[in-house]
Symmetry: C2
Subunit: 247 residues, 2 copies
């Protein structure tokens, strides 16, 4: 039985958007924090992982949203490793309200990146066994992310700023959501809520880079692409619904 870790979190005003909802970027920040707390609890601190000259890199998130946590609401974040194969490790996150009702579910896929070669290495047993998740055959398939037709897409540029880079010296990859969603505009974002988000990360952006954000909107589904001069950085497919005002 894989280890489960949970922790309560009260949503602060600065984690909220104009709809009084926690932003997706902050929700993922807290989710990752909760899995770091589990890592520490299991003795897999960042120092231990870095001792192997590798780091964990997320490749995909599949996010299903019943509703986003509200500002001031106390919710429970949980996480567990769900399995691994030769290269990929799978982890789920969830957010529940105070009554145990599921608000958000996140499936994710991770790989180990060598600091030396900057490329993926196969899973290191000592870094996965403490989670007690099963070794699985084959690869878990995430929903397809349809490509943006860049010729017809809306495009806007975002410069990667100093404060987009965190203590790990990388662009915190939740900022991709800011660049993807901001582009839809105030009116759209104020009047629509997230239902599903599938995002695939390809290449990292660094400070000073220009992130070029492209999107296409078809009904309540949007496709997004962030690229830079070196190529594709991330692609996402998002399903929206009309915003529902809660009390």
């Amino acid at each position: 039985m894989a280890a489960i870790y949970t922790e309560p979190h009260q949503v602060t005003y600065y984690e909220g958007d104009t709809k009084n909802q926690m932003t997706l970027a902050m929700l993922l920040n807290v989710a990752i924090l909760v899995s770091e707390r589990q890592n520490d609890q299991l003795g897999l601190t960042n120092e231990v992982v870095h001792g192997y000259n590798v780091g964990w890199v997320v490749t995909q998130y599949q996010i299903e949203i019943e509703r986003m946590p509200q500002v001031d609401e106390t919710v429970i974040f949980g996480t567990t490793a769900t399995g691994y194969n030769k290269y990929f490790c799978y982890r789920d996150y969830w957010v529940e309200d105070a009554t145990g009702k599921r608000l958000v579910t996140i499936h994710s896929s991770w790989v180990l990146m060598s600091y030396e070669t900057r490329s993926m290495v196969s899973v290191i047993p000592a870094l996965v066994q403490p989670y007690a998740a099963p070794e699985i055959k084959g690869i878990k398939h995430f929903p397809r992310v349809h490509h943006v037709d860049t010729v017809n897409a809306e495009q806007q540029e975002y410069r990667v700023r100093y404060y987009d880079i965190d203590a790990n010296h990388h662009v915190n990859n939740v900022h991709y959501f800011d660049w993807m969603f901001d582009h839809l505009g105030m009116a759209y974002l104020s009047n629509h809520d997230l239902v599903r988000v599938n995002i695939r990360y390809e290449h990292e952006l660094t400070a000073g880079d220009i992130a070029s954000s492209h999107y296409q909107l078809d009904g309540l589904t949007s496709q997004h692409l962030i690229n830079n001069t070196a190529g594709k950085c991330a692609e996402a497919e998002v399903v929206w619904q009309e915003h529902e005002q809660l009390n």
Copy 2:
């Protein structure tokens, strides 16, 4: 004796910068959160304040930094109201390490803004008396913020993004620091630490606005100005020192 409120806070990875220090923006976010908690404790919730058709608006921060909290460090945030006159309310914030050593001190000045007229109104006794701070004669003077010579200053534009606006439907004014400091560039920010920050807020930016960021750097002192087509939004004067690596 004015009421004091304190609360511990463990600095998370996403509140940190490339130097493993809490960013000034996040430090102020948590400081304001702590004073909101005091407001709630004293029965002065946002709902009560909004019931008078007014809101608190910060006009100045004077910030003295011994060192910034580090990622993973647990520090204590504290706040107390220090006095008020006909129009201004003064509040201090501080951050201490686990041994009680003072890391950061913030003096601040606030006014009540009418939602109806969008201008300053005189202090409402019911909204200040619960803090038990003294009524004072005259105005507290904050250090002078020297003006930027805009003719010779460096200039860069920052578009106000959807996620710069918080649940209060205003641009969270900590973002002014991002626009001011990012402009100094990665090399400068990686190699310098904050010593003192004096900022004066004049006019609010709104979503879609272009914030024009200007600065001049003279030795280890920088002057900053954010303006838009309607005029001056904020001015700041900052003292830096060479970055010292902590263990």
